[in-house]
């Protein structure tokens, strides 16, 4: 199936390139190379792990404009990691055809789709698998094979998705850090569906706005991108975690209200999975102070609450948690920004702090410094494995 998508794209490429209608093909290249240094402040829980790590990532984006209405996009991404072979990985973030027709738009291939409004937890964003090797914040995603039909109307945008192939989550190897204390056996992954990765998933979304309000309704049916973990043992009778991917139905709603410098955000879903069904939701505010202290700089405040109906029993690190963040933007030539935040468990089960700072150097260099701390996380919490993985990470990208 996966291969089928590439064949389809290749066929579209060949057909369109040969057609005289695409005589004025334009191609645009861009990308970056980004070395990364990670330093860990505490000794690892496993002797095979280290206190430092070097790696380098790179991404290339190729856009081929066949004509104004037909475009091909390829975005290969890769990382080479000096210590963890599992983190050395390659992905096609995007490899798709986009066609704009009179009353609809068609996209076929590997693509990224984002659903949601809030800043801290992305509960309703379920189309793409998380690229768990890039960051533990869940913001990086793998390209998802899809056929996406879009109908822009006066009553909002209607999107329909056919997702013909599932991509498993990847996990760091034994040398990797941060990672779960018990290694995850990716190759033993189990599926609820007999069709495993080839279960055909479907999704639909409607989104619209009226005045200050933006809103959306979505539904997804298919294999959950979030695995459950089944405890097991490997050949040497060492404990391992086996990912189990259940099928699910998920209906979700998302809303944002924009009133001057104040933004109100909410998203939530109800999910039917195995013998259970439950609700999760998150919402909060973002407020910006502009031109603080007589400078051009801005200060933004974000406060969000994350809730899971299942409570503490669920294998979910965020069941009743508050996220609070401050974002300072210098609004200078170098686009200097510092974001500091914390996620606090309201049941007293610890908290996580992070600071991310970024700045451009010259025209084409971009520096990102990130540090994360996990404090007082009890052994029962899903984040407990990261408790000794406080780290500082420096990435310097060269764009071209």
């Amino acid at each position: 199936m996966y291969r089928g998508i590439f064949t389809t794209i290749a066929a579209i490429c060949a057909a369109t390139a040969a057609s005289p209608a695409f005589a004025d093909v334009e191609t645009d290249y861009s990308g970056y190379v980004e070395p990364e240094l990670q330093l860990f402040f505490e000794d690892p829980s496993d002797a095979r792990q280290s206190n430092d790590n070097l790696s380098v990532a790179g991404q290339l984006e190729i856009e081929i404009f066949l004509n104004p209405d037909h475009t091909l996009v390829f975005t290969p991404f890769g990382r080479i990691d000096s210590r963890d072979d599992e983190r050395t990985h390659f992905d096609l973030r995007e490899a798709y055809y986009e066609g704009v027709f009179d009353h609809f738009e068609l996209r076929v291939g590997l693509k990224r789709v984002f659903w949601g409004r809030t800043e801290a937890a992305h509960l309703i964003d379920v189309i793409n698998q998380t690229d768990n090797l890039e960051s533990i914040d869940g913001e990086d995603k793998l390209g998802q094979p899809m056929v996406n039909l879009t109908f822009p109307t006066d009553f909002g945008i209607f999107d329909f998705y056919w997702l013909p192939y599932f991509r498993e989550r990847e996990f760091p190897g034994v040398e990797g850090r941060p990672r779960f204390d018990i290694p995850v056996a990716e190759d033993m992954a189990l599926f609820e569906s007999d069709q495993e990765e080839e279960h055909q998933d479907f999704a639909a979304r409607w989104s619209h706005y009226a005045g200050a309000w933006d809103f959306g309704l979505s539904h997804f049916y298919g294999t959950s991108r979030d695995p459950l973990f089944v405890p097991g043992v490997d050949k040497n009778f060492s404990p391992i975690l086996i990912p189990y991917y259940p099928l699910m139905h998920q209906s979700s709603v998302d809303v944002q209200a924009t009133f001057g410098p104040m933004l109100y955000k909410f998203e939530g879903f109800h999910r039917w999975q195995m013998d259970e069904n439950w609700t999760q939701a998150t919402g909060g505010i973002e407020y910006s102070f502009y031109g603080i202290f007589d400078t051009p700089s801005d200060l933004g405040i974000v406060a969000e609450y994350v809730w899971d109906e299942r409570g503490e029993d669920a294998m979910n690190p965020f069941q009743s948690d508050v996220f609070a963040g401050l974002r300072w933007s210098a609004n200078d030539i170098q686009s200097t920004t510092i974001l500091g935040g914390g996620i606090f468990d309201m049941d007293g089960n610890g908290y996580a702090l992070s600071v991310e700072a970024e700045r451009r150097f010259g025209e084409d260099f971009f520096l990102q410094v990130e540090t994360r701390f996990f404090v007082d996380v009890p052994a029962s919490d899903p984040l407990a494995s990261f408790a000794d993985d406080d780290f500082l990470q420096v990435r310097l990208a060269r764009y071209f």
Binding site: S30, F114, T258, G260, S288, Y290, G291, S335
Partner: protein
Amino acid sequence: MFRHLICSAVLSAAITAPAFAQGELPEDPAERGLAIALETEARDLGFGDSTAEMRMILRNTQGEESVRELRQRVLENPDPEDGDLSMIVFDRPRDVEGTALLTHAHLLEDDDQWLYLPAVARERRISSSNKSGPFLGSEFAFEDFSSTEVGKYDYMWLRDEACPEPYTALTCHVVERYPLYEGSGYTRQVVWTDTTDYLPRQVEYYNRRDDLLKTLTFLDYELYLDQFWRAHTLQMVNHLTGKSTDLTWTSFEFQSGLTEDDFTRASLRRAR
């Protein structure tokens, strides 16, 4: 980030016959200032839609330079009580390449604005109330880029005099205007508009303490479709910091058949 619209820095006027001869301008300074602004606006009515490319060179006091590049398309809103529609795609700096900004502008209310971040495929409705913040780190504030609808200001005609350099051969109306929208960084702006084509030639911006903050000079006017003047170079100098920004427009095209469908959230996703 890129909160505000850059709709028409593109300050301009048409060469159609003036609505009134110069002697017919009202006597009252407030009415006279308004009449001059209305005449400037009237001469640019009917441009329909336009596309153009923009390059900014930002200079600090040490003479170091930084470049910004973007492409913009605009759809004129025939309703004088509402603002134009615009779409901007950023090309430089490269770390924001492909980021797109959709603006549905309004006169006194905040604009409706959506930002699309291609790296995460995320559309965000953003606040547009930061009128006085710097656009892309330049000496242009967001409000300096907004389309200059007449209804955004009160006016006061000050005097007529020779236009400032390099237009000293022309005569200019000197009109003070006072922002009516919330969040402006200015108490007043002084605009030099020539008496022939009603083109803005220079603007002085006074900050909230009423100090002279910045001077904007419009250069390299060219005429399109025999009717619409566009300045191709805009020089903004900050007198308090010594920093400056040179902005140049190229590749203007008018009336290429853009419609509202080119300024929707769906078109934002594929603006690139």
